[in-house]
């Protein structure tokens, strides 16, 4: 109780300081680089008249390679487990939650609003509405920012956002012709009509329609696009393998050191409790070098080893208005600050979202790249990350394709995805965004930084970036 009071009191003077900060912010440019471990004295990014939104907690179930322990579950089972994990961690009273938003990409048709099904199954109040959003690999980012918007607009105080993906099972459909016949069959009245319809079925009707990780607009698979992107930026196979190896090594280290605190155990029915991500497999450059290209055959550079793998997993995050969190006695982890969505050519720049989003979100927040202490970028492919780094470091690209005067600069690698990334931890499409944000928050705390930058690319040639600010300790 006393802690609640004191934090409420502290709240007042601070917010007026923010008001002042808002004016100076646009003038300040890069503050001199400070050693990571030192406490920051930079201004905070709150805006007058806008509610502060905080992350109270974020969790995820272990991310597993598809076809492994989660193989027999349904998507809402994974989401349920993440939601239950969040409830357990935070002990948030169920009826306090105003709204639930989930992101997912490949929808299980039976649970197309997977947010609602999971919430009901996880023991949330049946009075809490829930909806599902989709925006390819930035679906859970969209879920979070939807929540941020609701809170900032004063419509909600407590929102649970998250994401889920189950690649072990995807909907495989009958062919369109077969579907049409079957639907018409439903309406056929007489036996004769039915028989005549059935007699029209030909062998090719039975060819199934498989979903592919391909762009609808270009019919190009994402891996193929990534290979072309790497080639466009002249990124070699070796560079990609080295980056992938780095991701796995850093993830392994983070896992071993217990830094991945967002992982909650999941007792899978009929199987053992899963406690760890299972895709982290630091190998050697020699072994990785033996693999054949997976998409552009036989001379491409993107292989299974330097791409993110198909993953099952779910994440969940509790976000609140700052007042509400403090009033409830929580110690928030971070503020969710400015965010942007961008989109560009889905063919040749499919995976360059971070390049476009980074300078935009920095500008919006009045920061420069050097103000950022922690970078958490979604790693779809090693080649994609390296291409983005090169693009961000190119004046030519900034001027000719982004309409900017100069490059934003490449993030220094010592601040970049230092606990691993999607290449090693896995990438359940709909769930990755929450992992990025909570990892940024945890890293800020651990490394003593103040601002984190989260960025991701997504199918459709879209992208997202958000500034995460460490909650004052």
């Amino acid at each position: 109780m006393s802690s609640m009071l004191s934090s409420a009191l502290r709240n007042l003077p601070v917010s007026s300081a923010w008001a002042a900060g808002a004016f100076t912010r646009s003038l300040s440019c890069s503050s001199p680089f400070q050693a990571a471990a030192q406490p920051k004295t930079k201004k905070t990014l709150g805006k007058t008249g806008v509610k502060n939104v905080v992350v109270v907690e974020g969790v995820r179930i272990p991310f597993l390679q598809s076809g492994t322990t989660y193989a027999d579950l349904m998507p809402h089972d994974l989401a349920r487990a993440a939601l239950q994990g969040l409830l357990t961690r935070t002990s948030v009273p169920r009826d306090v939650v105003d709204y639930i938003v989930y992101g997912t990409v490949i929808q299980e048709v039976k649970t197309s609003n997977v947010a609602r099904e999971a919430a009901l199954g996880a023991g949330f109040s049946d009075k809490t509405p829930a909806h599902t959003v989709t925006m390819a690999c930035i679906s859970s980012n969209q879920a979070m920012t939807t929540g941020v918007g609701m809170i900032a607009a004063g419509q909600c105080d407590v929102v649970v956002a998250g994401g889920v993906e189950l690649m072990s099972d995807v909907p495989i459909r009958h062919s369109r012709k077969m579907r049409k016949t079957m639907l018409t069959l439903n309406r056929a009245k007489t036996l004769g009509q039915k028989l005549s319809l059935i007699s029209k079925i030909r062998p090719d009707y039975f060819a199934p329609e498989l979903p592919a990780v391909a762009e609808f607009s270009t019919s190009e698979t994402m891996g193929h696009s990534a290979d072309r992107l790497a080639a466009a930026f002249g990124i070699s196979r070796l560079e990609q393998d080295e980056y992938a190896l780095r991701s796995h090594s850093l993830a392994k280290k983070a896992q071993d050191e217990g830094l991945l605190q967002d992982v909650v155990p999941f007792k899978v029915p009929g199987k053992d409790t899963v406690t760890k991500d299972n895709g982290i497999r630091p190998s050697s450059l020699e072994q990785m070098g033996k693999l054949k290209p997976a998409f552009v055959k036989p001379y491409g550079t993107v292989t299974a080893a330097n791409s993110s793998f198909l993953t099952d997993g779910a994440s969940a995050m509790l976000i609140m208005s700052e007042e509400k969190a403090l009033a409830m006695g929580y110690k928030p982890k971070a503020y969710l600050r400015d965010f942007v969505y961008v989109s560009q050519d889905p063919k040749d720049q499919l995976l360059l979202g971070p390049t476009y989003a980074t300078p935009k979100v920095l500008e919006k927040a009045g920061l420069t790249l050097s103000d950022i202490d922690v970078f958490e970028f979604h790693e779809a492919f090693a080649g994609q990350i390296l291409a983005n780094l090169k693009a961000m470091d190119s004046d030519w690209f900034a001027q000719n394709y982004m309409g900017r005067k100069a490059k934003v600069g490449a993030p220094p690698l010592d601040k970049f995805n230092t606990w691993g990334g999607s290449l090693s931890l896995g990438h359940p499409f709909g769930a990755t965004g929450c992992r990025l944000v909570i990892t940024a928050a945890h890293r800020l705390k651990k490394e003593g930084g103040q601002y984190g930058l989260v960025a991701a690319c997504a199918a459709g040639g879209q992208g997202h970036a958000m500034i995460v600010e460490l909650y004052p300790q």
Binding site: H224, R228, L229, A231, A232, Y299, A387, S394, F397, N400
Partner: protein
């Protein structure tokens, strides 16, 4: 008449082959000494350069001051030098051939080089030089990889298939093919011998006899290329620059692989291909193939084009008698073909086409970004279709919802057929269609840069539309009329701004016919003309610009010929026979069928108008015959009945028996002196040519080149004759005049030769084409 001349056969797509840019004629380096490699360091090569990258030599073609590379004497000589150096250099283990121009590997042989040859022997010698060079490449101990980006045609393709391995960029600009046949030639540097071995006999015949362009992905399936490279997007360089760099990197990788035997040049053949190859190895199967192909060629060319038959013969000799015999006959035939009048005619058309792809009025002040088309009929929708797919925002306006729906459906269908042929993705189709706005009102016309009207051919309707449009369009907007016969100045008479009024005469079907006839009046401004030509070129048209007058150029030439067709029919020759006689002369569509295609009502309309304007010169056939046909509803193909009966799905149409009575009614006696098949052909053609010459004489046409192009691409004048003016040159003006006089004596003044023809006849040195 919106002349509905159906596709003119093979000439539909005369090659984008061979050079498009100006060729600089550098003094030829002696062929005799070119195999003796002189000190390279001192040589200043301008067309071919060579980089050594590790153990791979990268040979780059770059014809200076030209958009495309061509196999000129200079380029061939430098190429030979470079290759000799590579073979002599022990540090080099393999080579890559690539172009410095992303849009063109090698677009073919230098036509000027061929045309400069005086005799067949000279051309044969050129062919043999080429053969020897490519044979050396084929047998090179160091593997040679062709890295193909852009056009790889004719001689360029022959270079590529002499290499050991081919890597091609998979983009739209990269096309492979042997378009020689379209110029009346054959692949003369070993292509006839290598191609059948590479892609199989049927596919090789198809390529060589149609001259069709093959896109990279299809080429890969056929086994014409071994690897594809996807075009790249932007990196830290432009997509084009980086893509060709990447192509080079990939090709170097394969060159190295071939040299150290980690890559095999052997292709895995599918079961079908192995079966075909096996069958083709059997002499009697081959004989069957030759026979079938030969009869097909005979049927399509009527024996008027010597090149296709030669190609079959040359391929046959090579396969049956071995390489040496094959190479020899290839070179000899190449020489023979190059000096035929057919080849000269086709090359003339090629040059003419290049000429008509340039805007002689310069760059317009304002680019047309928004176009409005009035009338969603066959023509209007066709114009809209060829505009939206070039990225022009197009408003399609009609007066009724039904008409508009039909027009929009036509555009959709046209684009969707490309999706079915996989030359367009459904996504591209949809985004192209988003450029099309169908509407019934004048909304948005205030933003239009050009309005093309394709409304009913009636001067009052045109005037009404012009006034309505001028009330809503901005000051800079151009008003173009797609009329086939109404004089533009007459239409412009009611305009407040006649300098902005111009004629744009499209041909139906607009998406297939290449020609656009632009008509300027005395008042039309230069900038208006520049803008109209720019739009036409953007729409992919071959553009001729003519002066205003009744029937302009194309319709006016067609008029007398169709009048003569009617006369011939009246004389009792049945429509099938008329068609046979005219196609035998080289017209792609029979003369009677042509009237059905154009539409009898349209033809009547035009004949009446032109008859009024030109008097007896347009006489001959009775216009009342047409009028009766219209009365009976025999309007031609669109009505299902004309001279023939048209039924959906019935291929062999039959003669419309209802016509017997009409023809009988207008029957006139035939004079046997002028009614042999040849005479009938000449009666049709001389009237055509005479009228064309008169157009030149009167200044309707500004030059004979555009006259030839207009006649061939718009009206289907036999391509093998090269157009009315080239025909006059090759047939002889004297002989033409003699024929005209002969027919004049029988029929009267419609055959009176014009002064220009008489001038030419009187001084044999005078030629339309020098």
């Amino acid at each position: 008449m919106a002349a509905a001349v159906r596709a003119i056969g093979s000439l539909g797509r005369l090659p984008a082959a061979a050079r498009a840019g100006p060729t600089r004629h550098t003094p030829p380096r002696g062929y005799a000494c070119r195999n003796i490699s002189t000190s390279s360091a001192l040589q200043n090569r301008t067309h071919v350069s060579c980089d050594i990258k590790g153990d791979v030599a990268v040979v780059r073609f770059n014809t200076p001051n030209s958009k495309v590379n061509t196999l000129s004497k200079q380029l061939s000589a430098e190429f030979t030098d470079v290759m000799n150096e590579i073979w002599a250099n022990e540090a080099v283990k393999s080579a890559v051939l690539i172009s410095s121009k992303p849009g063109s590997f090698i677009a073919g042989a230098d036509l000027n080089m061929l045309e400069a040859c005086k005799t067949a022997q000279e051309v044969t010698q050129l062919s043999q030089d080429g053969q020897k060079m490519l044979e050396k490449i084929e047998h090179s101990p160091k593997p040679v990889v062709a890295a193909i980006s852009g056009s790889c045609l004719g001689g360029g393709l022959e270079v590529a298939i002499a290499c050991h391995y081919r890597v091609a960029t998979k983009d739209r600009k990269t096309v492979l093919g042997t378009p020689e046949v379209l110029l009346g030639l054959l692949p003369g540097a070993g292509g006839t011998q290598r191609l059948p071995k590479m892609v199989g006999l049927p596919a090789a015949f198809d390529m060589m006899l149609t001259g069709r362009n093959i896109r990279a992905d299809r080429a890969k399936k056929m086994g014409l290329v071994d690897q594809l490279v996807e075009p790249l997007g932007p990196g830290v360089k432009t997509p084009e620059a980086r893509t060709i760099e990447y192509l080079e990197e990939v090709a170097i990788g394969f060159a190295r692989g071939l040299a150290n035997k980690t890559v095999s040049a052997k292709r895995s053949r599918g079961l079908m291909q192995r079966l075909t190859d096996y069958a083709m190895a059997l002499p009697f199967v081959r004989q069957q193939v030759y026979k079938t192909v030969e009869s097909k060629v005979q049927k399509q060319t009527k024996g008027l084009y010597p090149a296709p038959l030669k190609i079959i013969e040359v391929v046959k000799t090579g396969l049956d008698q071995g390489n040496d015999a094959g190479y020899l006959i290839e070179a000899q035939s190449f020489g023979q073909l190059a000096v035929t009048k057919e080849s000269k005619a086709l090359m003339g058309l090629y040059h003419g086409q290049v000429h008509c792809k340039k805007n002689k009025f310069g760059t317009p002040q304002k680019e047309v970004k928004t176009l409005a088309v009035l009338g969603a009929g066959l023509m209007g929708a066709g114009i809209a279709q060829v505009s939206v797919d070039k990225g022009i925002k197009t408003i399609l306006k009609d007066t009724t919802q039904k008409g508009l729906d039909r027009g929009q459906q036509q555009v959709y269908k046209g684009l969707n057929s490309k999706v079915k042929k996989k030359s367009l993705t459904s996504f591209e189709r949809d985004s192209i269609l988003s450029n099309l706005m169908g509407q019934l009102d004048y909304k948005g016309f205030e933003k239009a840069d050009m309005v093309i009207e394709a409304v009913f051919e009636d001067i009052n309707v045109k005037h009404k539309v012009l006034k309505e449009v001028e009330a809503v369009i901005p000051a800079h907007c151009i008003f173009a009329s797609n009329t086939s016969a109404l004089p533009i100045s007459q239409i412009a008479a009611v305009s407040k701004r006649p300098e902005k009024v111009i004629g744009m005469h499209y041909f139906s079907p607009v998406d297939k016919m290449q020609l656009l006839e632009i008509i300027t009046t005395d008042k039309t401004s230069q900038d208006t003309a520049a803008s109209a030509v720019a739009v036409g070129l953007k729409q992919g048209k071959v553009v001729i610009v003519v002066k205003d007058g009744p029937g302009f150029y194309t319709t006016r030439c067609l008029g007398p010929m169709l009048s003569e067709v009617v006369r011939v029919l009246q004389e009792g020759v049945d429509p099938k026979k008329v068609d046979a006689i005219s196609t035998a002369f080289g017209f792609p569509v029979g003369a009677a069928t042509l009237i059905d295609e154009v539409g009898v009502d349209v033809a009547t309309h035009v004949a009446e108008d032109l008859g009024k304007a030109f008097g007896p010169r347009f006489g001959g056939g009775s216009i009342d015959l047409f009028k009766l046909m219209v009365q009976k509803g025999f309007l031609g193909r669109k009505a299902g009945k004309g001279f023939y009966v048209y039924q959906e799905g019935v291929k062999n149409r039959s003669v419309n028996s209802g016509m017997d009575e009409i023809l009988e009614k207008f029957r006139v006696p035939a004079n046997p002196d002028v009614c042999s098949d040849e005479d009938i052909q000449m009666r049709l053609v001389t009237r055509f040519v005479n009228e064309a010459a008169m157009c030149l004489q009167e200044g309707i046409l500004s030059n004979p080149v555009e006259g030839d192009i207009g006649a061939v691409f718009g009206l289907g004048f036999p391509p093998c004759l090269g157009g009315p003016f080239r025909f006059a040159d090759s047939y002889g003006a004297r002989q033409l005049v003699d024929k005209l006089r002969k027919y004049e004596a029988v029929y009267g003044s419609q055959f009176t030769p014009c002064q220009l023809l008489l001038d030419h006849a009187n001084s044999p040195s005078k030629k339309f084409h020098q």
